[in-house]
Subunit: 155 residues, 3 copies
C-alpha cells in the first residue's frame, strides 16, 4: 500500500520535504494510542511561508487552494516522520481543521480547504476521506494565508 | 433510551432532516474506534444556510442562538446517519467547538453557542453534557453566522 | 511524580485555583477512555478575565503571553479537578489549540501561545510536550485576549 502511495505522490509531482521541527516548547506531532495528532501546518515551501495575506484582500481562491495544498504536504511530511517513513500505516485521516485568514467579506473558506482535502484524498485514497471544519480567521502566524491541523487513525 | 430521545425531540418540535452530504472530497463524519467525529455543521434549514452575517453587525444574540440550534440539529442528524438511526448509541458528547462569525467588538460567543449546548443537553440528557470552546471568527463558509463541529463517544 | 510536579509549581510560584465551573449546559472537562478533553480556558485571575482586548491593538506580545500562561494554569486546574488532584496521572498532553484575539495585522500568535506551551512543558516535563495550533480570532468571549483548550492522555 505504501508503494501505491509513493507512486501516487510521484505521479502528482509531490516530494515530501523533511518534516519541519518547531522552534519552541511543543512538538510537530503526538501519537496517543492509535491516534496521531499533527500540529497546525503552515503553507511552507523551500523553508518559508509561501502564501501570505488574507483571502478576499490580496490572496485569491486559487492561490489559497495552493496554500492549502502546501499545508497538506506538510501534514503528510509530519505523518511520514511520525510513522517511520511508512504512510501506509495511516488507516484513516479522521479530521482536518482548516483555518483560512479572511477579510470579513470572504465566505469561501470551504473552497480554499478543498485544496487540502483533494490532495489528501488523491494521495491516500479511501483512507484519506476525512471529517473537517473550514473557518475564517482574523490572522495567522507569520502572516500565513492558511493553517491546517490533522488527526489520523494509525495502524 | 432511543425512544426517550425520540420523545424529547418530538416534545421540542425538532425533526431531524436527512443528513446533508458534502459536495467535496471529505465526509460528514468519521468513526474511529468508539469516537465519532462530525464535520463542522452550518445553520441549515430547508437546504439553505438560514442565518447569515456577523454577530455584532446584522445578527443579534437571539438569532445567533437560533443559528447554533440549527447547527446542533445538523450534528444530531449526522450522528443519526452515522449510528444507523439510533441516537441511543451516543454514550457521551465529548466536545463541541463553536465558531461564531463576529465583528471585533462582539464578545458574547459563549451565549450564542449556549443555543447548541442547551439543545444537545435537552435532547440527550446526561450523555449530552460536553466540553466545549466558543470563539469568534472573521467569517465562515457561505456567510454562515455559526459553525459547530463535534466529537462523541459511541457504544 | 506528582510530588515533582507539585514542587515545580511551587518553584514557579504557581498556585492552581479551584477549577471554575461553567455557567451553562456544558462542563469544564470530559473523560473518554484514556483521553481528557478540557473546555476552552480564558485568562482568569481572581475570578475575572485578567487580559482583555486584541493583540496588535491594546495587548502587546508579553501581555498576551501572560494571558496564555493564565489559560494554561486554568487547564492545569481543570486537569487537577478531573484527575482527583493528581497531575501525575497525565501521561501526555496531546494537543493545545490556542486562540488569540487579533487585529488582521498581528501575525505572532505563535509567540503568544508559547506562554502556555512553556508553562506546561516546564510543569509537566516530557509529558507536557504537545502538538498544537495557534490561530488569530476576530474576538473571544468576555473580550478575553486568549483562549486555549486541551486534550490529554491520562493513566
Amino acid at each position: 500500500m505504501s508503494d501505491q502511495i509513493t507512486a501516487r505522490l510521484k505521479d502528482m509531482g509531490i516530494s515530501l520535504p523533511d518534516a519541519a521541527a518547531p522552534a519552541a516548547n511543543y512538538v510537530s506531532y503526538v501519537i496517543s494510542g492509535n491516534q496521531l495528532f499533527i500540529s497546525g501546518q503552515l503553507p511552507i515551501e523551500n523553508g518559508k511561508v509561501a502564501v501570505t495575506g488574507h483571502l478576499g484582500k490580496n490572496v485569491d481562491v486559487a492561490t489559497g487552494q495552493r496554500a492549502a495544498e502546501l499545508c497538506a504536504i506538510g501534514i503528510l511530511s509530519q505523518a511520514k516522520a511520525a510513522l517511520g517513513g511508512d504512510l501506509g500505516r495511516i488507516k484513516r485521516v479522521i479530521k482536518l481543521s482548516g483555518f483560512v485568514a479572511s477579510v470579513p467579506e470572504f465566505v469561501e473558506q470551504h473552497l480554499v480547504i478543498n485544496g487540502a482535502s483533494n490532495l489528501i484524498a488523491n494521495v491516500l485514497g479511501e483512507a484519506g476521506k476525512h471529517a473537517r471544519a473550514a473557518v475564517g480567521m482574523a490572522a495567522l502566524p507569520l502572516n500565513a494565508a492558511v493553517e491546517i491541523d490533522a488527526i489520523m487513525e494509525i495502524a
